[in-house]
Symmetry: C2
Subunit: 395 residues, 2 copies
Amino acid sequence: MKKTLLAKLFFFLTITSLSAQEAIFRAGQLTSPEIEGDVVTFRFYAPNAEKVEITGDFLPTEKVESPMGKVDSPGKSELTKKENGVWEFKSGKLQPELYSYSFLVDGLPATDPNNPFLIRDVASVTNIFIIEGAHADLYRVQKVPHGTVAKRWYPSDGLLMERRLTVYTPPGYESSAEKYPVLYLLHGAGGDEEAWISLGRTAQIMDNLIQQGKAKPMIVVMPNGNVIQDAAPGEGTLGFYKPQFMIPKTMDGTYEENFMEIVNFIDKNYRTVPQKSHRAIAGLSMGGFHTMHVSRFFPDTFDFIGLYSAAIMPREDATGKVYKDIEGTLKVQRDNGYKLYWIAIGKTDFLYDANQEFKKLLDGIDMSYTYVESEGGHIWRNWRVYLSQFAPQLF
Amino acid sequence: MKKTLLAKLFFFLTITSLSAQEAIFRAGQLTSPEIEGDVVTFRFYAPNAEKVEITGDFLPTEKVESPMGKVDSPGKSELTKKENGVWEFKSGKLQPELYSYSFLVDGLPATDPNNPFLIRDVASVTNIFIIEGAHADLYRVQKVPHGTVAKRWYPSDGLLMERRLTVYTPPGYESSAEKYPVLYLLHGAGGDEEAWISLGRTAQIMDNLIQQGKAKPMIVVMPNGNVIQDAAPGEGTLGFYKPQFMIPKTMDGTYEENFMEIVNFIDKNYRTVPQKSHRAIAGLSMGGFHTMHVSRFFPDTFDFIGLYSAAIMPREDATGKVYKDIEGTLKVQRDNGYKLYWIAIGKTDFLYDANQEFKKLLDGIDMSYTYVESEGGHIWRNWRVYLSQFAPQLF
């Protein structure tokens, strides 16, 4: 009993969580990713592999054939076999960004056992890292006042269940008596109330923008847009199951019809300014579709509307009453007035043409909007940037 | 443009996040784990592997030699190669529990690409699943009223930084004017403010116990016990880095000395009953060490004390003023009185002897306690059970 307790605990942990097996121990003892400035070295222990590759959004995209024509797919690079069964890949100089990656070991996907930071996107789990600087500094936790992130449940009379949502309240919310404006921020298909706070870095972006004086302190509400779920997979009564991209009823109007339940819950439970002038709504992809329809179905509710890579193409299965007379309700929304109708899309987004058609529809009824065209496609990198650009224009 | 939008989105997602490569697609298209009652089938796609094994706490433990003698290590089983490169393992009948597992492909650790539910324990990430029934039903999200879980930052004057903690408020907290008792729940070495809420299933356990009338509605505060961190790895200003088990200054007294900052913050910011009679403190392993020392250093603050597999052995590096005159301050705590001093330890825990010695110390000064001895060792399975047993005895 001469060894220090910590040393004993450490040994105990090592053998129980990593197992005593040498290979496992070594697999987890590398430094990966190793970030030196803007260059990253990735390492993977695989003594018997014939080929180890890395794939991720830090690599140049490759064009892949698809029913929508050629689309971007994350690139791949081979790692080089070094000593002692360790494979290595050193990146070129990377621009500041939050990147995700995974390995392919003889063609099979593997996460990095030396990087415990993972993000789930629908059913895929990948490792992440950040190259500091420029806009990526908005995604880091900085030494600034921090808002609170709460996972909270609201009663849905329309959907007959308790449902979970994520609420960001800005720094100082709890200690003041002030009333705040609200941004409703909607996820895309296959996402849920976790998407914007994890993949979207909403808390970090808002903390940093508010501290820099670039965005007003605001509440950000991130609901779950999948009306058959009460919460994200693994967080609700459906238990653990593999998340799917195509979820029934997400785009049949039920969500939009019941959206005011969420607004009313927030107005009742938080110190909001419950007025159109202090409400914004924005969403990515399917959430942009929801945003467009919610904001015109309740045409005097939101003064700020953001469509990020919005999936606003006409849909055969959009049969709900929400989707009746789209042009008519847009005209009502136009006549009621609003302060910002913001449309952002990437040049290579497969929804690019759909967004151009939507712009024509708006042009046709003299409905004003601000249009932003970015590089890249239908990716989280763009949606974080869109949020960073949209939030400063609010309230 | 005749295909439905959802089909297009689905195809797009498939090729971009899984890549077009057939092997990757197939690796992620299995059902694993497949839970049928109390039997679980695990599947892994690895056409060229020579051996695929599974390791996890659902398998019988193996004895492994260590400096502390023989200790339990998670067992292993081989998967059988089936058709089309798929390996399979069917478990025996499993008792209700939350289990974790990972694969070993030719000796190398791999997570299950078909199960996006992962839990990080220090730097290890493993997949999880639940076998329903008995006490494991406490760990599931049930159709009951749900509390709110908030990640919030408090100013630490003692540690000179903003620090993050996790706060569970019970169902009804926001809609009532009631004041609530508080349980402070401390993590072990290598853990942080995420440990109890993820590995410990605290929100689910509390929601279910409260709904069943077995525990009183209470606030549960889960602070970060690593005084050099402001937040969990990846959640604080230190950014993404590999978590370590041995973190400097976690057991040097700094945390205990500054603990009342947390209590005062909670009393100021939540509707608490700020009295000893309405305060409990409990912790696992290092958190049990912290609990023992905090509760006697502030000997008139907590009426309920819980030591779960507590690391309360004498330590050479415990030089802080908190550790002076342990017996004397315990006597003060004894004389001040308290309602419950609860000690729980597993029969095979490597801290078993240390806890017996601590009991002797308490016996020697006529300090009363309740002692519970469970099966098993130094594992989360026990700590979830201990919380489930401790919470009903509070307030």
